[in-house]
Amino acid sequence: MANLNLVQAINLALIQEMEKNPDIVLLGEDIGVNGGVFRVTEGLQKRFGEKRVFDTPLAESGIIGLSIGLAMGGLHPVPEIQFEGFLGPAYDQICSHAARMRSRTRGAFTVPMTIRIPVGGGIHAPELHSDSPEAIYAHTPGLKVVMPSSPYDAKGLLVSALRDPDPVMFFEPKRIYRAFREEVPEDEYTLPIGKARTVCEGDDLTIVSWGASVVQCMQAIEKASESGGPSIELIDLRTIYPFDMDAVEASVRKTGRCVIVHEAPLTCGFGSEIAARIMEKCFLELEAPVQRVAGFDTTMPYYKLELDYLPDAIRVTRAIHDCLAY
């Protein structure tokens, strides 16, 4: 057991899987000598050599396109896109090829690849360094989309991704890269892609969230319980696609009320799918409309205003009250 932050947990998962599987290679902008701008790949080039950990030219489509070829050729590439805002140039290779290769070739070619991407706001970063595009990729059949909210989850989920035969978008919430540490087993363990985690149990209301927002939700729940408030169940989705609707359904059937929290813009954010499914699955049990606490339908503002944009404990608390008051 070690006490690690998110960055260290991911670094450890990479080391352990690379030692087991010689076909794993890491590539991206500044991931080598520099260890990545967030130091997630720190020390890996020294440890595994330039053949397995290498810097690429500055071109995201090239990074993903090359990785797709590497994967078709039998390796398991782990490209890093420096910030989610720079996924744009790689969108076509991801959605037109990585996501389709298996189905279009009926399995003759596959793309086992784990794309690592720092995601989300809250670190006072420049423009295009604070977005949350998970819904875009959840709407693209053929991909898996993962977003851990803690060091322990990050390690377990990343190991699963590195063993997955299909392309996985592994979003790393940069806001909690170093926010806290927790016990992370050195020993091997995996967390299944597609299974949610019940962070805490409750009877009055269910909160569904993922990524850094989970932390905001926990704060809101603490506040609530301090003031002897309602009993709230928090579900961390962990995986955006395929998502664990069974867990959400079971919880909402019990509580009858639900609040969904995410950083991405409201409209067509992944919260809309969860809300729609809850209505479909729990129609008769639902006592109030599902509330969404999300980014607004505006461009993510520059950092002076970013905290007004991002869901926080106050907004989550308000949603809890709105939902309970209904």
Binding site: S96, R104, R106
Partner: protein, 384 residues
């Protein structure tokens, strides 16, 4: 010296058997053994005939949109002939002749254009990729495939084909740049057939050549007559040897011409004149080679007639195989998505015939379930 030379470059053009039948002994002699030459000629004729068959299939509604290869047979064939059988050949959609030479079954290509993914399930090991639809994207995959081979210590190289139009895509630049800087042995072959649908090649490059696109990356660049099989073979030899021996990429422009419409959905007469097309018909790679072989007594009308018959037969069989395949199951497009199908997709697959996606069958009161099913049945019936 305030003004010095930072860089100098020169690009050669290679022609061996020109349209008038002139043959350069120095470069051409012994380049292709006579026996091979005959086989290569037959391959071009066969590919050309399949083009006509495919065209008729499309017109008679038995196939979707199809892009003819007519006039460009010598480009990909020259490459396929030179490449090792285990070198990667990563192409677009106008390289049938080379793919067939590599052993790709004709029905695979036909199936693709018949709207059937099974046409992309390349039987291994052919070291080829299936047809690519989004232009300019496959060259990066060629680089990756080759880098993976290099990673395993194999000396396999790749040859990737793309058009004059596709070379305008950003991915083209990124592929060349990655291959050059990361030292990946890929031979980049630009098929300049002067048109990208209705767009003349000058709109895709105002430069004197497409070959010079490779200079950005410091690659050796060559241009050759793409309708001259000897020239494409000679050029590919030099290029393949360079890439295999140095482990570095290089660049080739093959100057050719699309004799047919862009695809069966296109009408080239809207944007180009008959004179231009006629001039290029005179440069047809097949005619040129046939005349050469006839003069060398390697070929005659009897052989041509026999070939025509054989080819028609072979291609008819390929079509039969393509059309004979059992029609796909609608479950296929669910099952093909992931190595392990997610539960939600299973539900979608199982209920697609019985319920709407918003419906959770288990939630319906039993009698309601029956009513819904029954109403649905009636409605379905009413539709047929």
């Amino acid at each position: 010296m305030p003004i010095t030379t930072a860089y100098e470059a020169k690009i050669e053009h290679i022609s061996i058997l020109d349209e008038k039948g002139n043959f350069d002994e120095k470069l051409g002699k012994g380049l292709i053994p006579d026996a091979d030459l005959v086989k290569l000629y037959e391959a071009m004729v066969s590919c050309r005939q399949l083009d006509q068959v495919a065209f008729r299939l499309q017109r008679s509604g038995r196939m979707g949109t199809y892009p003819q290869n007519m006039g460009q047979e010598a480009t990909s064939l020259g490459a396929a002939y030179v490449l090792r059988k285990d070198d990667w050949m990563v192409t677009c959609y106008r390289e049938n002749c080379g793919l067939f030479w590599r052993g790709v079954p004709k029905e695979a290509i036909l199936l693709h254009w018949m709207g059937d993914e099974r046409g992309n399930a390349m039987p291994k090991p052919h070291w080829v990729t299936p047809i690519y639809v989004p232009l300019g994207t496959q060259m990066l995959h060629a680089a990756g495939l080759t880098m993976a081979a290099k990673y395993r210590g194999e000396d396999r190289i790749a040859c990737t084909f793309f058009g004059d139009g596709a070379s305008s895509e950003g991915d083209f630049h990124e592929a060349c740049n990655f291959a050059s800087n990361l030292k990946i042995p890929v031979v980049f072959v630009c098929q300049n057939n002067f048109w990208a649908i209705s767009t003349p090649s000058r709109i895709n490059s105002a430069a004197p050549t497409f070959a010079q696109r490779g200079l950005s990356y410091g690659m050796p660049c060559l241009q050759c007559d793409g309708n001259d099989l000897f020239a494409t073979v000679h050029t590919m030899r030099k290029s393949v040897e360079y890439s295999r021996s140095t482990g570095l990429p290089c660049f080739v422009e093959m100057v050719t011409y699309r004799l047919g419409d862009h695809t069966t959905a296109d009408d080239a007469s809207r944007y180009r004149g008959k004179d231009e097309v006629d001039a290029w018909k005179a440069r047809d790679p097949i005619i040129r080679l046939r005349n050469y072989m006839t003069a060398r007594k390697l070929w005659d009308d009897a052989k041509e007639a026999a070939l025509a018959e054989r080819v028609e037969q072979e291609n008819a069989e390929a079509v039969a195989r393509a059309e004979g395949i059992a029609s796909p199951d609608r479950a296929d497009f669910f099952n093909a998505m992931y190595a392990e199908i997610p539960q939600d997709l299973v539900i979608q697959r199982e209920t697609m015939q019985t319920h709407s996606l918003g419906q959770d069958p288990t939630q319906l009161p039993p009698e309601a379930q029956e009513r819904a099913a029954q109403l649905a049945a009636e409605a379905a019936a009413a539709h047929h």
